[in-house]
Symmetry: C2
DNA sequence: CATCTAATTAGATTATAATCAAATTAGATA
DNA sequence: TATCTAATTTGATTATAATCTAATTAGATG
């Protein structure tokens, strides 16, 4: 299940009129004008909302003569509603999971021949890849003074203050009482 | 469970950033700047989203020194996510369910001493109450010609065409091949 | 009490979307 | 083919909300 699909589902359900339509269709199919009449809205408005509900497959339709009946797909509704409670184990994130090839390409683009950082990329994903690159020289479990971290960063870039702050913000490192330490890799964003 | 609460829940969940926050908090509490760092957004933006998630009780907080840790309330998330699949039997609707006292008051306001309709109210709820009032004289199970329906309506109001159409749109009545018949009361909007 | 840090609020900008009237389309029927 | 009905699309209007910078607040600490 992708993130965007779950977002789209809840965005669609998060509307008063559409929930009222779902409620009406729970007790059986209805045609458009019947829904419009029951809800006190105009047919174009109902068409608009039914189109949204069809996008997420929660409503289907069947034509009979000139009249189209709209059906609620309760199984789909249930499955999608429960998806948000089940994310976690699987690769939801899309954006934060990065392949090794992609990492290599970004590093090649932003690191010069002497191993130093040319510029700090603005894009979060790329920035994280380069933060990981810079953190590689540090040891798991070892405690560092702030000055040691600064010195380490200076091998890659002159703006050690910004980068040190990023190390902590992104949870590559942990800081307590001025002492710095690497976080376990599970906590890293890439 | 009220309609507005279900709408509010899904409106809140239906946002990419907020779902990513939920995903992050699934593996344990985090403080604001950590979330901001991991998602590549600024602290005010995270504050904004956390406030929304707190409104629906899906996130709670605990302060430790200067740092506030945000926790995911998984039980609440699950209960609210499943609410949409359980509406139907209970009184979700709020607006379409009307007490007898309320009906009586509306009828008193819109029906004159001779039993005729003074004006057709614009408000859907009131209109439905008066449609029900006018439909009372018709028999369940009996089939009516269009002219008979017109005659019946003329006892209450001269605009029989509009009202006849409303009877069908609101599902007080059913029409097939020019023959009209009352729908079962369960299908009526009031 | 002065200062630091993390979080929040205020205000502005920009994007998204709910609703309706008017026009159009799709299919049925005479 | 002409016409009717239900549904949809278009275009406009209005409301809501995501994000940021700058300013402020709340609590901790020296």
């Amino acid at each position: 299940m992708q993130l965007s699909k779950i977002v789209h589902f809840h965005k669609t359900i998060g509307d008063k009129t559409r929930i009222r339509i779902i409620y009406l269709l729970k007790s059986g199919p209805l045609h458009g004008q019947a829904i419009a009449g029951k809800l006190g809205l105009k047919p174009p408005t109902i068409s608009h909302h039914l189109a949204k509900l069809k996008e997420i497959d929660v409503v289907t339709q069947r034509r009979d003569k000139n009249t189209i009946y709209f059906y609620l797909n309760e199984e789909k509704l249930k499955r999608m509603a429960e998806a948000i409670t089940k994310i976690g184990g699987i690769n939801l994130d899309n954006e934060l999971i990065v392949s090794e090839e992609e990492k290599a390409k970004v590093i090649q683009n932003f690191i010069d021949s002497t191993g130093r950082l040319k510029t700090i990329p603005a894009q979060r994903k790329k920035k994280n890849i380069l933060l990981e690159y810079m953190v590689r020289g540090l040891e798991q479990g070892k405690q560092y003074k702030e000055e040691e971290i600064n010195e380490h960063i200076l091998r890659y870039h002159e703006d050690y203050a910004t980068i040190r702050r990023e190390f902590v913000m992104t949870q590559f490192m942990y800081r307590q009482d001025g002492v710095y330490e690497l976080n376990p890799k599970e906590m890293w964003p890439v």
